[in-house]
Symmetry: C2
């Protein structure tokens, strides 16, 4: 019994130290590891398998909206990065510079892409001539580099993996539609598949992307009440098109600038799943995204027929498109139970000699720990139903948590008071000026997360200056 | 008719200038484009779609042998690169160096990975303790950077996309088995799916990978008779394990070094498909790997019912897992025929008012230009059969080309004579010494491609020095 005890003991309680709990889960579940390259992660097989599930799911959603994949170079020549003024100001302080190729200094230094707007613009300028060439709807899966000072597994690292979509359109309306469409794809993916409820809205001027005319975001609340930005979608208007001279001839034979968008989601979503769903036993993965949905644990596996039955069940479930494994390691069932829980596998299936004789198996839910004895004859239907029930329950639990941790404040004092006692989102009215936004942050530690699409009128005046309010804002302390 | 003429005219005849023909096909089929970053490619959507097919196919084959995916950092600190002496000597002259992060110089410069042995070793040294931790069978899909002086689309560029598998084993035998197993996976993939016949063999000491004790390769012959290395698999023995101190406790509680392998295949395979299968009409893709297998071209598409029927056929074939599109652009059928041919789509399906009335459609093979009128009622079966027939014929055609361009030489004069008149592989005996290998290259321009597993005894003596021969070698001028 020493084994399984150790497994759980090593995870710090989330109530004692949430940050340490998070790190423990990441390390014990072998999701990612530090590397000799400071600030850079190794995505270990268990973490990468989750990323592959995210990729498959998102990629299908993108392709359903006619997006095609491609790959841009990982390097950006300095002169190319500098073409759009706001963009270079935003990114230059945090890029990694390549100065030598082989043994020789480069004539022009280049950076490793922090994001690829400039590369796509460079490409589109060559490929777009006529209205017939539009729209361009391209995406790439890659890693990007931003030289961060402090890093945390999945949440902030010098290299991270993501997808970045880049589109070019004939009209401003089409670009705005695409910007919102992709935000909705992200929101639906988060809610339906990651079981993470999100708030959809627009970023303030201060928080928008360098070079965008508008940035939209989905924001989620972690178990500790801190906010996490989960995905962003940017409308660039024709700013990049003017800087990179991306013009097309319209149907009336007139030259026009294109209108562009970009949108991205990153490996940070693995961190979000840990912090929204995890508990003191470890990771808890939503069935839609779990690389392994069912772990079969044979009981008394040395007894004749037990492993055979376990493998037979595995083959049967696999055929029904359930992602399933058998844990046939030379370990105690207790160890395997704790191990499967710690790794977040949604359903554990126990099968031993007595179950086989009775024609039954035991299903145990990771989300509620409930046990259910089911007939082997109904197993496929029972498992599928259970997986959907777990998915729905995980979403409902997370949604209740957000609802219970979303507060409304009418004065700055009230907001401070709320944030002293609680963590979570605070809804409050804002006049729209940068000064008030900065002052709210200074006074409360909370940043503006977004101006939600679903606006409410909580008061007539700005929470900070008392002038007429323009927008209701979600505020929160954030990762 | 101006349109379709232009489409074909732009492709230089392969008999006039093979190199220019190759570049024309790459550009006209929009597979890849140059970028403002010198020596780096943009993988355009049509090229990336082929790469996605290669990835899916190979990834499934890897996973069937228990390999799991992961992601390592893209940077290697200088001190890590230097740990294995042969390895750093081989790669240091061609790596890109990052010297600054943001506005500050780095304490230790790092390179962008040219390959990731050192990163996997660094990771394995931390993760491997006991024989229970073995084997480690990991792979990553990524791009790598080698600062080449001269570049060519797909064949040689400063950044290229690949997969690199890295394994660690308890014994030397297991490592050798895995090295050969993965070479066989590559060979089977090339022959069964890319329709490219390959010669399997071992590289000479001179040509082996920096740090390996043995490198195995598959070599293919392009249409112009030049050889192309298509995939390599390396056995490292315990060399890296000693340099990186990767040890495990065996069942007798004794410390042992692990034995390692690595193996890779790259986007160069897209270049191989172009040069093995392409013709003066453009690209010719094998059905197993073609992102679009059937292009439906509606004839008189403005007539009522034609486009509906085309889309109905598309839906029917799609349901049968055929990758199919309808070309409903406002262009002439002639343009669409040439366009579909140029892009290498294996089957064209023509459907017009008269076909609809007759309950038939016309299928045209890209490989032979043969036309066949088929009953719509049998369409699914006809298309599937045709795709397999094309796949088989493309392999047979390529195989005949290799057979017709593989020669045997007994003297160096004979070899020079053969290579003056022909291009292709020349089989010849070799004593095994580096000096002879260098001299053969000087005299004939051909490099040793491999010592094939299928050895023949062509003569008793080395083709160059006349001393007793040890191995039969395939020689060839190579990309």
């Amino acid at each position: 019994m020493a084994d399984e005890k150790k497994l759980v003991e090593d995870i710090t309680s989330m109530d004692v130290d949430f940050a340490q709990w998070y790190t423990d889960v990441v390390r014990k579940a072998e999701l990612c590891d530090y590397s000799s390259m400071k600030g850079c992660m190794v995505l270990e097989p268990a973490g990468y398998a989750i990323w592959e599930m995210i990729q498959q799911n998102l990629d299908k959603r993108f392709k359903d909206t006619d997006v095609v994949n491609c790959a841009m170079p990982m390097f950006i020549p300095e002169s190319l990065l500098q073409k759009e003024k706001d963009h270079v100001e935003g990114f230059a302080p945090e890029v990694a510079w390549v100065t030598h190729g082989g043994l020789e200094p480069l004539q022009e230094k280049c950076c490793v892409r922090p994001t690829s707007e400039t590369l796509f613009c460079d490409y589109y300028a060559k490929k777009i001539h006529s209205y017939r060439d539009l729209p361009k709807l391209q995406n790439q899966w890659c890693s990007v580099v931003r030289w961060e000072k402090t890093t945390r597994p999945f949440l902030r690292s010098r290299e991270f993996w993501w997808q970045e979509g880049h589109t070019a359109h004939a009209t401003a309306e089409e670009a705005q539609e695409r910007t919102e469409q992709m935000l909705n794809v992200y929101a639906d993916f988060c809610e339906s598949d990651l079981a993470i409820p999100v708030v959809k809205g627009q970023k303030t001027e201060k928080e928008k992307f360098a070079g965008a005319i508008a940035t939209y975001t989905i924001e989620a609340l972690m178990h500790d009440g801190q906010a996490l930005q989960c995905g962003t979608s940017h409308n660039f208007g024709d700013g990049f098109a003017r800087a990179f001279d991306i013009q097309y001839t319209d149907k009336e034979n007139k030259l026009q600038y294109v209108h562009q968008t970009s949108w991205g989601m990153t490996t940070r979503m693995i961190g979000a799943m840990i912090m929204v769903h995890g508990d003191n036993q470890g990771l808890k993965l939503p069935p839609h995204i779990a690389p392994t949905q069912v772990m079969i644990v044979p009981i008394m596996q040395h007894k004749e027929g037990v492993l055979d039955k376990a493998n037979e069940i595995k083959a049967m479930l696999k055929k029904a498109d359930v992602r399933v494994k058998v844990d046939d390691r030379d370990k105690t069932p207790g160890f395997k139970f704790a191990d499967s829980e710690m790794r977040g596998i949604p359903v554990r299936l126990e099968i031993g000699p007595r179950d086989i004789q009775a024609g039954t198996a035991v299903l145990v839910r990771r989300d509620t720990n409930e046990k259910k004895v089911v007939e082997l004859a109904n197993l496929e239907a029972e498992v599928k139903e259970l997986l959907e029930a777990i998915q729905a329950n995980m979403y409902a639990t997370a949604k209740a948590h957000v609802d219970n941790h979303t507060f409304a404040a009418k004065t700055i004092d009230e907001m401070e008071e709320i944030l002293d006692k609680n963590t979570g989102f605070v809804k409050a009215m804002w006049c729209g000026c940068r000064e008030c936004e900065d002052q709210v942050k200074e006074k409360t530690g909370a940043t503006s997360r977004c101006m939600p699409f679903a606006q409410e009128s909580l008061a007539e005046t700005c929470i900070n200056c008392g002038k007429p309010a323009k927008k209701m804002v979600y505020w929160g302390r954030a990762y």
